[in-house]
């Protein structure tokens, strides 16, 4: 190749390869959170203000500092999410008496559909909205539903990449509820 063509062609090829690598890396799930949990570490959740479901205000996970928070990623179009909603409502009532709460984050659906499901299942716990799913991606989210438990200092202490079970809740929540802020 002629010397005067060498650098432009090489730079263009490098730019295209970089773009491709960035695109491929952007589609993969972030495993940082899972790695931290495996090592027994607690990490701060991604910070963002999200719209309150059915309201005009915004809210964030930081608003619940001092409580044990069961953050549940859900959507009404997701059958396994719907299946676990009664258990989450029951857990919320129990948590509320012990200084905790369930906090739903409704993902990739319109407000009307989410509110219909909220009323259908009689959910009394607060819900935020992540309409395009860009916030929950920072948790390394791979599916629906997913649940993260925050300790009283607002750090992620447990992760559940599948629907929760009573057994998992009984094992995960009591030690965190006993901790002080």
């Amino acid at each position: 190749m002629r010397p005067r063509l060498y650098w432009p062609v090489t730079l263009a090829a490098a730019a295209l390869i970089g773009l491709l690598a960035y695109g491929v890396a952007g589609t993969g799930a972030d495993t940082t959170l899972d790695d931290a949990m495996r090592d027994g570490k607690r990490v701060d959740p991604p910070a963002a203000n999200l719209q309150v479901l059915g309201g005009t205000r915004t809210g964030s996970l930081a608003d619940y500092r001092g409580k044990v928070v069961l953050v549940n990623i859900w959507a009404s179009w997701c059958e396994p999410c719907r299946d676990e909603l009664p258990l989450l409502e029951k857990t919320h009532k129990k948590l509320a008496r012990e200084g905790g709460t369930v906090l739903g984050i409704d993902v990739k659906e319109n407000t009307g559909a989410a509110l219909t499901a909220k009323h259908e299942f009689g959910l009394s716990y607060p819900n935020l909205r992540d309409p395009d799913g860009s916030y929950v991606r920072h948790f390394g989210q791979t599916g629906y539903p997913e649940t993260y438990v925050l300790d009283r200092r607002g750090r992620i202490a447990a992760v559940r990449r599948f629907p929760v079970t009573q057994q998992w809740l009984d094992r995960t929540l009591p030690p965190l509820l006993r901790e002080r802020a």
Partner: protein, 158 residues
């Protein structure tokens, strides 16, 4: 009769521009191909998932309210955010979706122009040499060779 015909013509003349100016009401197929299924990462018209079905139901609700296509798209953006639109945004990393094809087209054009000029150069040089030749088919012979060739051909004819 004439008065009635005149009134009808006036009414048509007044109403026709208004009807033509009114933006058409949206239809699902018209909107679907310009909207993404957020979970599938594909255009809504080729998506078949619970998320896509819910998006379609939402679009149908908007259409039933008599909204135009642009109003439907604006409502979708308000509800789901700008990533709902299939057309890449003109800012941030999405800008590459517009710039890379333009850059690739310019690069290809530059390559074609460069190669065309390179191919033309030897052809031009060849045609120049041909013009120098006595018979138009090659370089000119020097006088000694020309004399020798004539002698050889004359000997061959005998």
């Amino acid at each position: 009769m004439t008065r009635a015909l005149l009134a009808a013509l006036v009414a048509v003349a007044l109403l026709a521009p208004a009807a033509a100016a009114a933006p058409p009401r949206a239809s699902l197929p018209d909107v679907e191909d310009e909207v993404m299924c957020l979970e599938c990462g594909t255009a809504l018209n080729v998506s078949n998932s619970p998320v896509a079905d819910e998006e379609r139901a939402f679009i149908r609700q908007l259409i039933a309210r008599g909204l135009t296509k642009d109003q439907v798209k604006a409502a979708l953006v308000r509800e789901y955010g700008p990533r709902i639109l299939a057309e890449p945004q003109g800012s941030g990393f999405s800008l590459t979706a517009w710039l890379v094809p333009v850059a690739a087209a310019l690069g290809a054009l530059a390559l074609v122009v460069g190669l065309a000029r390179r191919w033309r150069r030897p052809a031009a040089a060849g045609s120049g040499a041909a013009a120098d030749g006595a018979d138009g088919g090659g370089p000119a012979l020097d006088p000694a060779d020309a004399r020798r060739l004539d002698a050889e051909l004359a000997a061959y004819d005998r």
